[in-house]
Structure formats: C-alpha cells, structure tokens
C-alpha cells in the first residue's frame, strides 16, 4: 500500500483541486481529507457517509461552584490564563492540562472530555473517503488527522485498495506533520509568487525532516513566468522533480461551482491534461504502474 500527501505550505495554491482530480484518475483509491479544520474535498467528491465517529480530542476543566472556596490557586497556577478573574473556565484558553485539578485544595475541579469533532468513513464514486470535521475553534487537529489516516488505512485493508491520496492542510505545524508522517511521497503544490516560493521551501524542508520523497507542482505558472523559472531552478539545484506545470484557467473555478473536478467538468482543458500527465508520472514514481 502506498500513501501520497498533497501539501503546500501556503494556502489556496490548489491542493484540493488536484487531490480531487487524482481521486477521479485513480478510479479506485481511498482519499483522506486531512485539512480537518477547513475541509473542502467533499464539495467536489460528494461522499456518502457510511459511518460517523465522535472525536474526543481534548479535555476541559470544570469547576464545581458548590465546592469552590474562591481561593484563586487554580488561576494562579494556570499557565494558559484559562481561569478568569471571577474563577470560571475560559474554554477557548483551557488546554486540558489538569494542573488546576491537582492544586485545588477542595477538589472542586474535574476534567471532562469534550467532543472536539467528528470523523467520517464514506463512499465516493471513485472508491472511499476518510474525512473529518473539527468543531470550530477546537484544538488537537493533529490527533484528528491521525484518526483520519488510521480510518483510511483500515479502508485499504478491508477493500483491498493499494493507494491512499491525502489532502493536507496548509502550514507546517501539527496537523501537517501528522499528514506527512509515514507516507511514501509528498507533492508540494506551489504558485509563482514571492509567498508561494517562500512557503514551498518550508514545505520541502518539512518533507526532508521527515524523510519523505518530495515532488513539486507549479500551479498557475503563467501568472509570473520569471518566478516559475526561479522555482524550476531551485528544484533542479536541489534534485527535486517538478512533475507538473498547470496554467491559470477560469474553468477550474467554474468546475468548483458546478461541484465537479476539472477532470470531469472539462476533460479536454489544458489544466485537465496537465493533471493527467502529472498523475501518471507520480504513479510510475510510486511503482504503481
């Protein structure tokens, strides 16, 4: 079984558009949407949910007002400023560390589990999908990403599928790290802007850090061909394969509005052709063709 993650560093470079197209081209794959705090893959792939799981990712301190003697020790010892002046818990600041429960002299504080989101196992036209939705404002997205990846793995075993395509979140922090650990290849989607280049380098550093084989795709390459040239040179100097150069095309947005991937919406477009070529190259690299 092989796993490939589509990531980017910078947001909005086209990760989801490309991941969804890969899902269509793969015909039978498990797709995992690991952008759990702003998932969008379902907009294009229309999953039919087979199973829903509650995700208890973090804990929250609860003060029993009947027992509380207002000594304020909890407030003093909390490193996250999560206990307000009138000694109530601010759920947006509490990290569930439980320090307050051990310093409280009258045992008035307990930790409760909070449901921080849901994970889903679904069927799509082109195979299966593991996805999730973190409750707005919740912490621990990394743990939920790990759960989504586990669900995807279980699906591959059950359905005898040999490929997981992962849509990663933007950035380089905890949910991204969770999305790239243990995978076979990472495709970094970038754009020819100053921030695109800056964030591409960070994403490649991250893949190197976790020993993942990197590939690069320059999306909307014709917006600034000088910058595209810089990206190609940078990749060449560092021995990184550029597997795709996708032009800007307003059909990509039209397809999104129609709830379709560009492969389904406009199979003859320059964008679709480039994605098809990129996919067969990646399959060959993964040893799947």
């Amino acid at each position: 079984m092989k796993q490939i993650t589509v990531l980017s560093g910078k947001g909005g470079t086209g990760k989801t558009t490309i991941t969804a197209s890969f899902a269509v081209l793969a015909k039978k794959a498990v797709v995992a949407d690991c952008d759990v705090d702003a998932p969008d893959l379902h907009v294009l792939l229309h999953p039919e949910i087979l199973e829903t799981q509650e995700f208890k990712g973090s804990k929250l301190a609860v003060i029993d007002e009947g027992k509380c003697i207002k000594c304020g020790l909890c407030r003093e010892k909390c490193r996250f400023k999560a206990i307000t002046q009138d000694l109530t818990v601010d759920p947006f600041s509490c990290e569930g560390c439980s320090v307050c429960t051990i310093v409280c002299p009258v045992n008035a504080i307990t930790l409760t589990e909070r449901i921080s989101g849901h994970a889903y196992i679904s069927k799509i036209k082109y195979g299966f999908m593991a996805h999730a939705m973190l409750s707005p404002g919740e912490a621990n997205s990394g743990k939920l990403v790990t759960l989504v990846k586990q669900n995807a793995k279980i699906l591959t075993e059950k359905e005898k599928i040999d490929l997981i395509i992962i849509d990663g979140p933007p950035g380089i922090g905890c949910p991204v790290i969770a999305s790239v650990t243990g995978i076979d290849a990472g495709l970094v989607v970038t754009e020819p802007t100053m921030s695109g280049i800056h964030d591409l380098k960070k994403a490649l550093q991250l893949l190197r850090h976790f020993n993942v084989k990197p590939f690069v795709c320059v999306n909307m390459y014709d917006v600034n061909t000088d910058n595209t040239e810089k990206i190609l040179n940078y990749c060449k100097e560092n021995g990184i394969k550029v597997v795709g150069r996708i032009p800007f095309n307003s059909k990509v947005t039209e397809a999104m509005v129609a709830g379709k991937t560009i492969i389904e919406y406009s199979p003859k477009s320059d964008v679709a052709k480039e994605i098809v070529a990129m996919w067969s190259q990646l399959l060959a690299e993964l040893g799947l063709r």
Partner: protein, 278 residues
C-alpha cells in the same frame, strides 16, 4: 484598536488585505501571526532590527533524584513523558509547558528547562512596525510562538493581526482579544464553506466581524446570499484583476501601484472602527 484579519480557507488574500490596509492607514503595527508560513515581510520589506529565539518551558529531569514512580507520565495529558521502571523519556515537541509534572513529582526531581520552537523578528518599514514569528521546521506547536508575537502588541497604536488559515487553535490564539475581525473570502464554494465555519468561531468568541470579498467576478453569488441572510456586512470587494495578481506575485502591495485603492482601505478601516464601537 486591534483588528484581526482571518479567513478559514487559505490563499484568499489575508496577508494582502492586512498589508494594504496597514500601509493605507500608516503608522501601524502589523503582527504576522501565521508563524508557520509568515509572508507579510515579503510585501513590506522591513529592516529587521531585532531577532530573538523563542522557547517553551519543558521538564528537565534530575536522574539522581528520580525514583521512577511514573507519576509525571501518568499525569501528563499530552503523552510528553514516558516512564518505565528504568527510564524516563521526555518528548519536548509534545509538551504544552503546563508545569504539572513539576508540581506532581514527589521527589522534586523535575525542574523547568527550555526548548527552542522558533524565532521572533521585529523591524520597521518607514514609521510602521512589523513583528512576526518563524516556527522551526518540525516543531508542531504554533500557539506559544503566536502568544509571544502578541506580547509585543502596543495598544496605543493601530494594530493589525494577520491570522493563519484554518479555524483551530492557532486562529483562536490570534483573534483572541481583538476589537474587530475582518474575514477575507472568495466567491467560490470553498471560500463560502470555510467562511461559514470561521463566522461560527468568531460568534462564539463574541468578536464583531465583517467580510472582504476578494477576487470578485469569479465563482458564484452564494457568498453574498449567505452574508445577507446572516446579516454580515460586506466591507470591501476586490475584483479579480490580472494586474493585482501579478503585483502580488512580485511582492508589491497593489495599493502602492494603484493609489485609488488607498482611499478604499481607509474607508474599510473607518467602517471596522465604527462597527467595533471604537
């Protein structure tokens, strides 16, 4: 007045709006809280005058005092300590720095140590200041670094916070305590879906908000229908314009080259101030 610029979906134009807003009003303090991928400096070109390492507090174990009771490991909610009868292992990347293990250790074998997670940078571009953090590659936790960036807020000035994408803890940490939040979206199904989630977060946090629609002309009208129904003011619309995209790609804030936009960003600021009741 502290204004946060956030979005849910990445790449909608948060940094572009934050920087153009900042240079239009002048004499500002811009805090780039997207410590995983800070980009504001690529549009502002500040002269960095100050750099400092940022640490989180982690446990440091005195092996001689430790009797391997394992209380620290069972207390830690983040699995940052592993204890067996012979060995105690500490995983700094997992530690949230709550200090609980120090309090719980009966032998006082644990003291506070330091773990570097990133760098804080400060610099000036003209009369305006940029403060930002850079998370080290491989470090999962952005929140403590965002907290450190925000510690440098000077409330006597107009402060703009550039938030990371998403709706989870780094975003919460950024927008917390803001007087107003500008949500940047694009008129597409992805933009709308992520906007709705972010509005929910901000409503829960009781932060007043307004929307900037970027790249108008592409996509559909559903963002407008949603804003109307949810009674969310649309503060500014920025059309999809090849010139704006090209300027951004070169690292030029478009209001610098298209000065008619300065006035629009000043109006945006005034409207935000009015809606925040400031």
């Amino acid at each position: 007045m502290v204004i946060a610029v956030a979005s849910g979906k990445g790449g909608t134009g948060k940094t572009s709006v934050a920087v153009n807003l900042a240079i239009s009003i002048g004499n500002f303090q811009l805090m780039d809280c997207d410590v995983e991928e800070p980009n504001a400096h690529l549009l502002l070109y500040p002269r960095i005058s100050h750099k400092e390492p940022v640490y989180t507090l982690i446990p440091s174990l005195n092996e001689e005092l430790c009797d391997h009771c394992g209380k620290c490991a069972s207390f830690c909610q983040y699995n940052a300590i592993f204890a067996s009868s012979e060995k105690v292992l500490i995983f700094p990347e997992l530690c949230h720095g709550c200090g609980g293990c120090i309090l719980i250790c009966p032998k006082k074998a644990i003291t506070e140590g330091k773990h570097r997670i990133g760098t804080l940078k400060r610099g000036f571009a003209g009369d305006s200041e940029l403060v930002y953090g850079e998370l080290e590659v491989g470090e999962p936790m952005a929140v403590p670094l965002i907290r450190e960036v925000k510690r440098h807020i000077d409330k006597s000035r107009n402060v703009i916070l550039d938030a990371p994408p998403g709706t989870s803890c780094p975003v919460i940490e950024t927008v917390k305590g803001s007087d107003f939040c500008i949500l940047v979206t694009e008129p597409t199904p992805f933009g709308l879906h992520d906007l709705k989630i972010t509005v929910q977060v901000l409503k829960d946090m009781e932060i007043p908000l307004g929307v900037v629609v970027n790249r108008t002309g592409i996509g559909d009208k559903k963002v407008y229908e949603y804003c109307k129904e949810a009674k969310i003011p649309i503060l500014l619309e920025i059309p999809y314009h090849r010139r704006i995209a090209e300027l951004y790609s070169k690292g030029v804030p478009f209001s610098q080259e298209m000065p008619e936009w300065k006035e629009k960003f000043i109006m945006l600021f005034k409207e935000a101030r009015r809606l925040a009741g400031k």
